[in-house]
């Protein structure tokens, strides 16, 4: 099931919220959430729910063993078995086709390519459970003894299928006991409305521009290639951060405090900062669990960096362009590391902004084109070696036809809401006024978004495919 459809917003969610409100006590509320999370997942994946439940059982069991054999060999064995199982499942269901295709291409073999449909959300819940197992192994968290509570952690539907990757440590206490304030619920509802608005009103409309210009890259002008890549970058940002807003908002309504997943990434001044602001839960996952894997010996600083960016690329999809995309960012982070933070800061801010935006826009071009031939055409066109010149009438028409949409999208990349809120919070009157305005804005946004959804068929979030 996806969030951006009327069925979810006006049938599944209200029924779920009503049941949750009627449930008394944390135990009953947890039960409601587990049942609705399983329904949510099974709605689109009736068969793969067994895969998820098996993953839950294996990791829950491993967690118990890790706790039981603390400081003994069994601890490591359980960790290795659980992590291997998780990676194996991810490998089989997400990468087997890609691997076989490449083996066939490399060795001219004809191994049948497995046609396995990607289970929704597998990349997200696998990483969640890996973080749980490793944190248990490192004794950062105590293994959860209740299977129900563990299942709740893994299957909680707000973040189940497209993140953020929630650590067990983040919600450990709230699984056992949580207090829900009125302000939590209103904040959560407003955040859900904001996320839906980002997805439906911005991302979906920007996708039309992106597909028009990047989808027809061989007929695009140089301007068209950049314009399409910018529209695509904005689309992905509003799509994915919109989903995270909904997840965080729903979490808050249910009494959970998930960490932020995006922090206005486009205001970054360099690529390192970009990745501190973009898909934060993934970056921190790799930082905490992959960067310092001691497999590169003395060169582990750079080896780890390479591994992180390779993994970042592969995680996003079983395709070469994603691997290139990951390594592409890795190169810039590496260069910035070589330059050093102090020297980077000495470079004029304007130049750093221009540099980082150019890298990011080209990065989205790489992200878009799964066919390498088309990616080559994109590069040629973007750097002035295309066949269609710099600017054409269709570019001008598109910009004018979408000028307000583009303006609003760019403004929304800045932390406007955050700044207004911070300023308003200093005085009671302004705080009350802004809170009231936010309530009205959220209600309007929800209504307009719903109206827009009437005219569209279900529009899955892009990150579903990862």
């Amino acid at each position: 099931m996806v969030f951006s459809r009327l069925f979810f917003i006006y049938i599944f969610l209200p029924v779920c919220l009503l049941c949750y409100a009627l449930a008394r006590g944390t135990k009953a509320k947890n039960l409601v959430l587990i049942v609705f999370s399983l329904i949510f997942y099974a709605w689109g994946e009736p068969v793969y729910i067994f895969l998820m439940l098996t993953t839950a059982a294996v990791n829950y069991g491993a967690g118990l063993l890790i706790g039981k054999y603390q400081g003994q060999r069994g601890n490591t064995a359980a960790t290795v078995i659980a992590v291997t199982y998780d990676l194996l499942m991810l490998g089989v269901f997400k990468y087997s086709g890609f691997i076989v295709e490449n083996i066939n291409a490399l060795f001219s073999s004809s191994i049948p390519v497995p046609d396995i449909r990607l289970p929704i959300g597998i990349s997200f819940y696998t990483f969640q459970t890996i973080s749980y197992i490793i944190d248990c192994h490192w004794e950062k968290v105590k293994p959860q003894k209740s299977f129900g509570k563990y299942l709740l952690f893994l299957t909680l539907f707000p973040q189940l299928v497209a993140g953020p990757i929630v650590r067990y440590s983040t919600i450990e206490k709230e699984i056992n006991e949580r207090k829900i304030e009125l302000s939590d619920v209103s904040y959560g509802l407003n955040r859900v409305a904001l996320g839906l608005g980002k997805k439906v009103l911005l991302a979906n409309q920007l996708s039309i521009i992106a597909d028009s210009f990047l989808g027809n890259i061989s007929s695009s002008t140089m301007f068209g290639a950049w314009y399409g890549a910018i529209a695509y970058g904005l689309q992905i940002y509003f799509d994915f951060s919109g989903y995270s807003d909904i997840a965080i908002g729903l979490g808050r309504i249910f009494g959970f405090h998930f960490d932020e997943n995006f922090d206005h990434p486009f205001i970054c001044r360099d690529i390192t900062e970009f990745w501190q602001r973009w898909h934060i839960s993934l970056s921190t996952f790799f930082r905490d669990y992959v960067l310092y894997i001691p497999i590169f010996g003395k060169r582990r600083k750079y080896g780890g960096l390479f591994l992180v960016w390779l993994c970042t690329g592969i995680w996003h999809g079983a395709s070469w362009n994603f691997i290139i995309w990951g390594l592409y960012y890795g190169i810039f982070v590496f260069i910035e590391m070589l330059i050093g933070k102090k020297r980077m800061k000495k470079i004029p801010v304007v130049i750093r902004h221009i540099y980082s935006k150019l890298v990011i826009i080209i990065g989205f071009g790489i992200f878009y084109f799964e066919k390498l031939g088309k990616l080559g055409t994109f590069f040629k066109t973007a750097f002035g070696f295309g066949e269609n010149g710099f600017l054409a009438v269709q570019d001008r028409i598109s910009v004018i036809n979408n000028m307000y949409l583009l303006t609003v999208a760019v403004i929304c990349c800045f932390p406007v809401i955050k700044l207004v809120k911070q300023t308003a919070d200093k005085h009671f009157v302004t705080k009350a006024a802004v809170s009231s305005a936010a309530a009205v804005a959220a209600a309007l946004l929800l209504i307009v978004t719903s109206i827009m959804l009437v005219a569209s068929t279900a529009n899955p979030f892009l990150y579903f495919r990862f």
Partner: protein
């Protein structure tokens, strides 16, 4: 009452501050305990939060009632399709996820008063995206990015068939297809870029780029295999050739230039110049403004040109009964959801032959004959149009006429060709109408089997030089 209240209430604590520079001047400042103030503020903020929750909850509740309890729509007149039906449950459909997705699709697709909500979106919300480009009554909206050039001419024989388009969300109306997507060519060749200008949607022609040579070679193959049959090729221009204002003409390639190259490449196939006659009548309503098809009047002129070349009689337009369907909004609105098109419907005018004909409809294997009407009754859809009058493409139609000249015509066509059929009922004794995309026989065997004297390829430029051209070749290999 007020006095009593004042009497009973305790005076607010206050301190008197005397101004040091002015004797006797002092102000009273009331003191509220800090805690009380904090509590009151928290109360006020809680009230706002509560109001917020009530407002959003009311929207959820209202939405729930609207989506679930209000009558569900069953058809969309503006899209010429029936809306999604509630799925039937089976273990298989549940296991595959079809059932659950179908349930969600049903609620999403059948919202009460859907048409008016869509109109509201077109009229108000979509207008917020930006401005129309240009001025002077030629303001334009572009859907898509322009055109796609082919990198190289393909010379090898194609083996693919045109992809049929289906959607799990929509249910096609019987005898009608849901969208012109059937015309969509193979990936990466032609694109459906639409410019809306002067209240007209124009599908921009993106050039043949050598594909016209392929088309010509395939059609010529038919003549080679059928030396005794008159083979004609009539590639039909689209509105892209006639209705683009000058300043937008570089958005589309020239169909005429491609047609000239195509005709020159034909071997022993007789080219029919529909372009010139349509150009001569372009000020009449020969193309739909809101649909990617032509209007039946355009088909009348093109068929006239064909009849002239084929040396067969051709009735005057006055010999037909004229039927006008007002309020027609066609497929281009479905593509673009443009308020300009929605708010400027057109008349769909078609012509019924007065002479009786016998029509038999077969499946695409030329089996299961059933009696049919030459033109369908469009009355059961309010905004009926092209498909509702001329019917679906996935069939073979045989028309036996009162024109006893011994001539049997086979037409291989796309949806443009459907409109030719009624116009030729006074010209040939037998007509077989076959769609190049939905034909499951060997074309030569079929033509021999029905004893054709004439074979006409009639399709629009997008089909002739797009992916559909491969079907022409593939139909020889079945």
């Amino acid at each position: 009452m007020t006095d009593n209240k004042n009497k009973n209430s305790l005076p607010e604590p206050s301190i008197s501050i005397e101004a040091s520079d002015r004797a006797g001047a002092s102000i009273d400042v009331s003191i509220k305990p800090k805690k009380l103030k904090k509590q009151q503020r928290k109360k006020a903020l809680n009230f706002i939060s509560l109001a917020n929750i009530v407002a959003i909850s009311a929207i959820f509740a209202g939405g729930f009632v609207y989506v679930t309890l209000l009558p569900h729509e069953t058809k969309a007149d503006d899209e010429n399709r029936y809306l999604t039906k509630f799925p039937e449950f089976s273990a298989k459909s549940y296991a595959s996820g079809e059932f659950t997705e179908g349930v969600a699709d049903y609620f999403d697709d059948t919202v009460h008063d859907r048409a008016h909500i869509k109109e509201f979106i077109s009229d108000y919300i979509m207008q917020l995206k930006g401005r129309k480009y240009g001025a002077d009554g030629e303001e334009a909206e572009l859907f898509g990015s322009g055109f796609e050039k082919k990198a190289a001419v393909i010379t090898t024989a194609p083996v693919t068939t045109a992809a049929s388009v289906s959607t799990s969300v929509t249910t096609a109306v019987p005898e009608a297809t849901t969208a012109p997507a059937e015309e969509a060519p193979a990936d990466g060749e032609l694109t459906n870029n639409i410019l809306i200008v002067n209240k007209r949607g124009v599908t921009l022609y993106s050039g043949a780029w050598g594909a016209e040579q392929e088309y010509a070679s395939y059609v010529s193959l038919y003549k080679e295999k059928l030396p005794d049959v008159n083979v004609y090729s009539m590639v039909l221009p689209t509105s892209s050739s006639f209705y683009l204002p000058e300043k937008y003409q570089n958005l589309a390639y020239s169909e005429k230039e491609d047609f000239d190259r195509l005709d020159a490449a034909l071997h022993n196939v007789i080219p029919i110049d529909a372009y010139s006659i349509l150009d001569a009548h372009k000020d009449e309503a020969i193309y739909s403004r809101t649909d990617h098809h032509w209007q039946p009047l355009g088909a009348y002129y093109a068929a006239q040109q064909f009849a002239l070349t084929a040396g067969v009689p051709y009735p005057e337009l006055s010999e037909y009964e004229t039927v006008t369907l007002p309020g027609y909004v066609g497929t281009l609105y479905m593509y673009t959801q443009s308020a300009t098109l929605m708010n400027n419907p057109e008349d769909f005018v078609y012509y019924k032959p007065k002479t009786p004909v016998t029509v038999t409809q077969y499946n695409t294997r030329f089996e299961n004959p059933v009696a049919a009407n030459l033109l369908l009754d469009p009355s059961y859809m309010a905004n009926s149009g092209y498909y509702m009058v001329f019917g679906a493409d996935e069939r073979i139609v045989h028309v036996n006429t009162e024109c006893k000249n011994g001539r049997t015509l086979v037409i291989f066509k796309d949806s443009y060709g459907n409109a030719l059929l009624p116009m030729l009922t006074g010209s040939f004794e037998n007509i077989y109408l076959c769609d190049i995309r939905y034909f499951d026989l060997n074309a030569v065997d079929f033509i021999n089997r029905v004893g054709a004297t004439d074979l006409l390829f009639a399709m629009c430029s997008f089909s002739a030089v797009g992916g559909n051209r491969n079907c022409i070749y593939n139909n020889l290999t079945k």
